[in-house]
């Protein structure tokens, strides 16, 4: 952050992913932060603790004894009307799991940064997407950052989306552990007053008020639970158009364009790869190289994972004959890993759909190398030529 260049009202700075998230949280002027340290997220909450200590951020910083307590404190604070942030990884999120569902069903607007890390055992601190996938059903919005710039931008946008009165659901901003959380990259940051304009103070809905006592999350048995879940399901369907709106709005302030589904070269592609997070750049690098030799290959990556942009994805993959869905996790005993299942479901009733291959890659921080992506493209080309998939599950780069 030492060197800063002026450019169109934005400053170009160097930050790690964790530092960029913390900086966005400071600019978002949050009221309450409750978190428990866990690698590779720790630097986020350390930086925020510095901001609060140094008087740069006027927030209640709640040091708790576990992640379970951290998220519980966030739920209470959010319902009281505060703008709330927390951050975690892997085992920490696993300990929050019980409260994750409550935070969504009670319509809190918490924003969480999730520095993605593999779940034990064996113990590992590096990147897998196990943690993000494990809370996919809990009713949180989930964004995936591809680089440090996106981690910063998406953190600001997450507050705006979650707190929108048509949404009122909590959000996760995923950033690949170490690969993004600890990598120093150049990025543009908005000026504080620009952020204030984009993200005005939160207007609470039904806040906790001692003058007007209410019961939050009371008992609802067979007579009402079903109706509450249907109401939550329908409410979650209204999230997607608001996200598109916020993406467009943010572009006006930042000049940076965001889309739920990023597509490269798929318009004329025979085969494509679908991927989440930081590895999308590697996939596009390989695709660019192959396309320069005349091979019709493409890459799609998701900025938005929940709600899953199914129809957008189906539309962008029109004409693709074989698709490799890349999962940085594994679902034991499942007919496919987590992203693969989403994609298979998205195409379930489509008359025209690509052959699907599932590639497992990068578990526990193993690098995804260009030759691994090339191998994925080769398998897809073989399938497209043969009109069938010989081997549906690939493990790229495993010994």
């Amino acid at each position: 952050m030492a060197v800063a260049l002026q450019l169109k009202g934005q400053r170009r700075v160097g930050m790690t992913g964790d530092e960029a998230v913390a900086y966005a949280v400071k600019q978002a002027d949050v009221d309450v932060v409750a978190a428990y340290p866990i690698t590779p997220q720790t630097i986020i909450v350390e930086r925020i603790a510095d901001y609060v200590h140094d008087g740069e951020l006027k927030a209640s910083y709640v040091a708790v004894e576990s992640e379970h307590s951290a998220l519980s404190a966030c739920v209470g604070a959010s319902l009281a009307g505060a703008r709330v942030f927390t951050a975690t990884s892997s085992q920490g999120l696993a300990l929050m799991w019980e409260i994750m569902w409550i935070a969504s069903a009670m319509r809190t607007t918490i924003v969480m940064a999730l520095a993605n890390r593999a779940l034990s055992a064996p113990i590992n601190i590096h990147c897998s997407h196990d943690d993000a996938y494990a809370v996919r059903d809990a009713g949180w919005i989930q964004f995936f950052a591809e680089n440090v710039q996106e981690a910063y931008d998406l953190t600001l946008m997450a507050f705006r989306v979650s707190e929108d009165k048509r949404v009122l659901f909590p959000s996760i901003v995923n950033l690949d552990g170490f690969i993004l959380s600890h990598a120093l990259e150049p990025l543009y940051v908005l000026e504080d007053d620009v952020v204030r304009e984009f993200l005005p103070p939160k207007e609470p809905v039904n806040p906790i008020d001692p003058e007007r006592p209410m019961t939050y999350g009371p008992l609802a048995l067979f007579d009402y639970y079903f109706e509450f879940k249907k109401a939550q399901a329908e409410a979650f369907k209204s999230v997607y158009p608001v996200i598109l709106e916020v993406f467009r709005e943010y572009e006006k302030y930042s000049g940076r364009k965001y889309e739920p589904v990023k597509a490269y070269g798929v318009e004329d592609a025979d085969v494509a790869v679908l991927i989440l997070g930081s590895s999308a750049g590697t996939a596009r690098y390989v695709a660019r190289r192959l396309r320069s030799k005349g091979e019709k290959v493409g890459v799609v990556s998701l900025t938005l994972y929940r709600p899953f942009p199914a129809s957008d994805l189906v539309a962008k993959l029109k004409g693709v004959k074989a698709l490799v869905v890349m999962d940085r996790s594994y679902s034991f005993g499942s007919p496919g890993a987590q992203l693969f299942m989403d994609v298979a479901a998205a195409f379930a009733n489509e008359s025209e759909r690509p052959l699907l291959i599932n590639a497992i890659y990068g578990l526990g921080g193993r690098d995804l190398l260009p030759e691994h992506v090339e191998e994925a493209f080769r398998k897809a080309q073989e399938a497209a030529r043969a009109g069938k998939v010989e081997e549906r599950e690939l493990w790229l780069g495993v010994r």
Partner: protein, 94 residues
């Protein structure tokens, strides 16, 4: 219970107006029903003290009656009664 609402009438699971738990009549949970024999009752009020609901109503003269809208049939009153004036009988029989 009042008329059951559709999911379309619901948003977050919040009870915005306090004091409506009385609408939820828990007497339907009962398997055994306490039946009080007023002729044996000595008006000691132990049942009234012990009832966790409280579903035992105290009258002006310290006699008691059981509120079956909320009594869950736990049997504590029958257990505590020093003169065995309360019998637990199967629901629908006594």
């Amino acid at each position: 219970m009042s008329k059951l609402l559709s999911w379309k009438d619901l948003s977050a699971p919040i009870i915005a107006e306090a004091g409506n738990s009385v609408l939820y009549k828990t007497g339907g949970w009962r398997a055994l029903k306490p039946v009080l024999d007023q002729s044996k009752c000595i008006r000691c009020l132990l049942c009234w003290f012990y009832c966790p609901e409280p579903a035992i109503k105290r009258r002006e003269d310290d006699s008691v009656e059981i509120d079956y809208d909320y009594c869950k049939g736990c049997g504590i009153c029958a257990n505590e009664c020093p003169v065995k004036a309360i019998a637990m009988v199967e629901e629908g029989v006594g």
